[in-house]
Amino acid sequence: MGILTRNEEIILIAIWKLGGNAYGVSIRDKIMDMTHQNLVYGTLYNSLEYLIRKGYVASRKGDPTPERGGKGKTIYSVTPAGKQAMIDTRQLNDHIWQDMPALESG
């Protein structure tokens, strides 16, 4: 059972949410949208690369668009293994937070 790190989890969730349109710019926008924190491309690419090596993410070439100066996209998608890891991670999270006394004072 592969448990994802927080970073991996966020990226995978972003890709999953984006469906078929997950590429560099959109993933970064999505993550920044979700976390309200700035994200440097280098960090994102590194994480994506490691996720690919782990087999959680697959990449394929997308078509170039004019607003990219004619450069192609790399489209990312979550693999079945990645999906399983997301499920496992979520279950673990739920399990950990179960029966949790209220954190807020009251």
Partner: protein, 880 residues
């Protein structure tokens, strides 16, 4: 409108370039696209300036990530290469084994030889002033030839210091003659590392004293400095300082000597070693102030600004001055004439550090090494390593047959050439590292044997030569790289389609190189085997040749002087033993002669002085040794006048130019009458021709060596009877005996060693050669699998196939044989020039060496070929 704005927006060029160079992701293209897309959006929303800053900030902040990824990616690629390399290695175990073993053998040989060479070159370098210390040598030329001596005048040290300002200090070393008995209280031992020197010894040589003052330790007569190990041996835990030991040898006669110093043991790499360093003043030699008495080794320490060549140039004048000083008119004239003939002594300087390797004088203090061997071994080391490397390379290339398809597929699947080259390089570097490990293991295992064999000390080791391992690691990596680079470039150049369609007969280009290599290796093997054969023959000849006397069944007691006046009584008792045939004393080891003196026929002014070996012997000596008298008679107990008589050998008669030897009177220290002529016999090793020899008769039989001829089978019994007799007459003095034939055999120790070394190298050459051949045969057989199958189908027998497959190799070996014969003939001819008496080079040795090599080679390939020829053709053809 939007489209137009796209065109006007330009991303920062420098940043883009940076991105491009740094990027290592699958496609930096799409990454740049992401950047650009985002940038354009920002330009639209926030203006160019802000976007520009953002772009740069993104770039720079991403840098650490890029670098991190670069590193991890490289590491992963490396790990991947290594993993695949390991798979490939495992897949072809026998190939790998041969390859590694061959290279490991080469590296091991190289390491061992380098250890040896390094040791030999390190001699006497530990002396702090070694660069300014020189030893004198003497090149003595007279009518019977030129001889190189180590002994020079006993007064020289004093003369040099008085007359030459460039001499800072000088000292002399007097070595023992015969044997020295050292006694402390009731214990006596024969010691063989005994030297005399004066108090300046420690000024020249770095020999630290543990106790005692180096300036005064050797000042007074009857003082002695002993080594740490001797101190331990004689005194154990008690302090030896100030104790008295008795020293009895040729130079001192059992006087008490006081121990005034304990020296640290000399390191192994010194050209002399002592356990007892006695003050020079204690010796009889020191009583002489005669320039003409040349008996000691003289060493000088030159001032730092002195020019040794200029100093050396002044030495001839020194000799002339000194010689003339002690002469009257008549002798002076004779001396001038002697010099005019080109005779006389020439002094030369030998730098201290070079003595061990380049000095080969008569009477060296200890047997020296030989620079020729050091050079020879260095060359061999390089060659062995080179051959091993080429073999390694060769086998890798030959393997391309199997791997061509792999390369084709890899290329088809998109491998870049760079990756393939790296892959192959990685494999060969891995193999070479494995070889280094194996080599280190081999060296560790064989070093103890090698130390004994090469006569080098325990301090020569793998782990205490710090420089050695990094050097070898580096070289191994280089070897791995060089050996891998050719096959990898060669293999990676295959065209995928041609290879996959089986068009490229891979590896055929390297064929000539490989054949050349096989020829070279087998040339070396055959030459070495033939040489070993010839060397062994020469040794056999030297050991077994008739020396002119009977060296078998003679026991030599070497502490004869311990008998004092009891020799005759001892002899009489001895002769009652039925196993003892005869016995006689001699001043030097029987049938050997070291001393030389000048002789001439008395009152014959027409001929000059002739330097002749001489030795003193007792009655019965010639009979005991079994030498033949040609004319006249031997010494006789009945003739009291014989104490003034001499025997000559034939060569001496010729050298002196006497026509009627019997009754001739010789002039030396005093006139002596020739009473007989001995048939020439070899009193030196067979390196030298028989020289003139004079035998004097001993006056009182109190001499160092007693030869006993024995008979019968029971040697140990006889010896123990002699020993008990000895103890009775000497009161339990040390009983030391040797067998004459063994002693003679030891004269050829250097040759025995050479023979062992060439044997080892022959074996190594054959081993490495066969490894190469084995690989090549495997390759050839593999290439011809189908041909063999077809031939079998068409009815070829296994035997025919065997012949067919080995034909090419046979041709190579025969070619190697034709190269090896003249090479080894020339080398051996040269080597045999070292001997005055030598064998004719037996031509059969080459034939044997060739046949032996052929047999070994055939059995090497035989296995492969046999396997191939027995194969069922169905198996080899079914893939077609």
């Amino acid at each position: 409108m939007i489209k137009k704005s796209h065109k006007t927006v330009k991303t920062p060029a420098a940043a883009q370039w940076l991105l491009k160079t740094m990027a290592l992701y699958e496609s930096h293209h799409s990454m740049a696209g992401d950047f650009e897309e985002n940038y354009i959006r920002m330009v639209r929303e926030d203006g160019v300036g802000k976007a520009w800053v953002w772009y740069w900030a993104q770039m720079l902040r991403s840098l650490p990530n890029y670098i991190l990824l670069q590193i991890t990616t490289r590491a992963m690629m490396l790990a991947n290469y290594i993993k695949i390399a390991f798979r490939n290695i495992r897949k072809s175990k026998s190939f790998t084994f041969i390859n590694v073993l061959g290279l490991a053998t080469g590296i091991a040989v190289c390491i061992v030889i380098m250890l040896y060479v390094q040791h030999e070159l390190s001699y006497d370098t530990f002396h702090e002033k070694a660069d300014r210390v020189y030893r004198f040598g003497n090149e003595a030329r007279n009518s019977s030839g030129t001889r190189m001596w180590g002994w020079t005048s006993v007064t020289m040290a004093d003369v040099l210091k008085a007359e030459f300002p460039e001499v800072e200090e000088a000292t002399r070393i007097l070595t023992e003659m015969g044997e020295t008995q050292i006694s402390y209280q009731q214990y006596g031992f024969i010691e063989d590392r005994v030297m005399y020197s004066d108090s300046h010894f420690f000024d020249l040589f770095t020999v630290p004293l543990i106790s005692g003052d180096p300036r005064t330790a050797l000042q007074d007569p009857y003082t002695v400095v002993i080594s740490q190990s001797a101190a331990k041996r004689f005194f154990g835990e008690t302090d030896p300082m100030g104790k008295a030991i008795q020293i009895r040898n040729w130079w001192s006669d059992n006087d008490d000597h006081i121990i005034t110093g304990i020296a640290r043991d000399m390191p192994h790499n010194a050209h002399f070693h002592f356990d007892f360093l006695i003050s020079y003043n204690s010796s009889r030699v020191s009583k002489s102030d005669n320039w003409g008495y040349w008996q000691v080794f003289n060493y000088v320490l030159l001032r730092e600004d002195a020019d040794p060549d200029a100093f050396e140039a002044k030495l001839p004048d020194l000799i002339k001055r000194q010689v003339r000083a002690g002469m009257d008119e008549d002798r002076l004239a004779a001396y001038e004439e002697y010099l005019a003939q080109g005779y006389g002594s020439r002094l030369f300087l030998h730098p201290l550090r070079d003595i061990h390797l380049t000095s080969h004088l008569e009477h060296e203090i200890e047997p020296n090494g030989n620079i020729t061997y050091v050079r020879m071994f260095s060359v061999i080391a390089v060659f062995v390593l080179l051959i091993a490397c080429i073999n390694f390379m060769n086998l890798s290339t030959a393997r391309s047959a199997n791997r061509a398809r792999e390369v084709g597929i890899r290329k088809t699947l998109g491998s870049e050439r760079k990756q393939l080259v790296l892959q192959f390089l990685m494999e060969s570097i891995l193999l070479s590292l494995a070889s280094l490990l194996l080599a280190l293991f081999i060296v560790t295992c064989t070093l103890p044997t090698f130390r004994i064999f090469a006569g080098i000390g325990n301090h020569v080791g793998l782990w205490n030569q710090a420089w050695l391992l990094p050097v070898f690691l580096f070289f191994t990596l280089v070897i791995g790289f060089l050996s891998g680079i050719y096959p990898s470039l060669f293999l990676s150049s295959f065209h995928p389609i041609r290879v996959l369609k089986n068009l490229q007969s891979s590896g055929s280009q390297g064929r000539r190189v490989r054949n050349g290599l096989v020829v070279f290796q087998f040339t070396a093997s055959i030459a070495l085997i033939a040489s070993t054969w010839i060397i062994k023959n020469q040794i056999h000849y030297m050991v077994n040749t008739d020396l002119g006397y009977d060296k078998e069944q003679i026991i030599v007691l070497s502490n004869g002087r311990a008998l004092r006046e009891h020799y005759d009584a001892f002899r009489n008792e001895l002769l009652r033993d039925p196993a003892v045939v005869r016995t006689a004393v001699s001043g030097q080891y029987p049938a050997q002669a070291l001393h030389v003196a000048n002789f001439r026929v008395k009152d014959d002014e027409t001929r000059g002085w002739v330097s002749i070996f001489n030795s003193t012997v007792g009655h019965d000596f010639l009979e005991t040794l079994g030498m033949d008298i040609l004319q006249g008679r031997t010494f006789s107990r009945q003739m009291a006048t014989d104490t003034g008589a001499v025997l000559l050998n034939e060569s001496a008669v010729r050298a002196l130019g006497i026509e009627e030897p019997i009754g001739a009177i010789l002039d030396s220290f005093r006139p002596r009458t020739v009473i007989g002529v001995v048939k020439d016999f070899h009193f030196r090793s067979l390196h030298y021709p028989v020289a003139p020899l004079v035998y004097f008769l001993s006056r009182n039989n109190r001499y160092g060596y007693i030869s006993i001829r024995i008979q019968g089978k029971d040697m140990p019994q006889t010896i123990s009877r002699i020993e008990s007799l000895w103890n009775r007459f000497t009161g339990g003095q040390p009983f030391n005996y040797t067998f004459l034939d063994e002693y003679i055999g030891r004269l050829y120790l250097a040759e025995q060693k050479t023979s062992q070394i060439t044997s080892v190298f022959s074996a190594l050459a054959i081993l490495i050669g066969c490894l190469g051949l084995f690989g090549l045969a495997a390759y050839t057989v593999e290439q011809k699998t189908k041909e063999i199958g077809i031939r079998k189908v068409l009815g070829a027998t296994s035997l025919r196939l065997l012949l067919f497959l080995s034909r090419d190799f046979m041709r190579l070996i025969i070619f190697a044989f034709m190269v090896a014969v003249p090479v080894s003939y020339a080398l051996m001819h040269q080597w045999l020039q070292n001997f005055a008496y030598r064998i004719a080079i037996p031509l059969l040795s080459f034939i044997y060496a060739g046949l032996l090599t052929l047999c070994i080679a055939l059995s090497t390939i035989g296995y492969q070929v046999f396997k191939a020829s027995r194969q069922n053709p169905v198996d080899s053809l079914k893939y077609e």
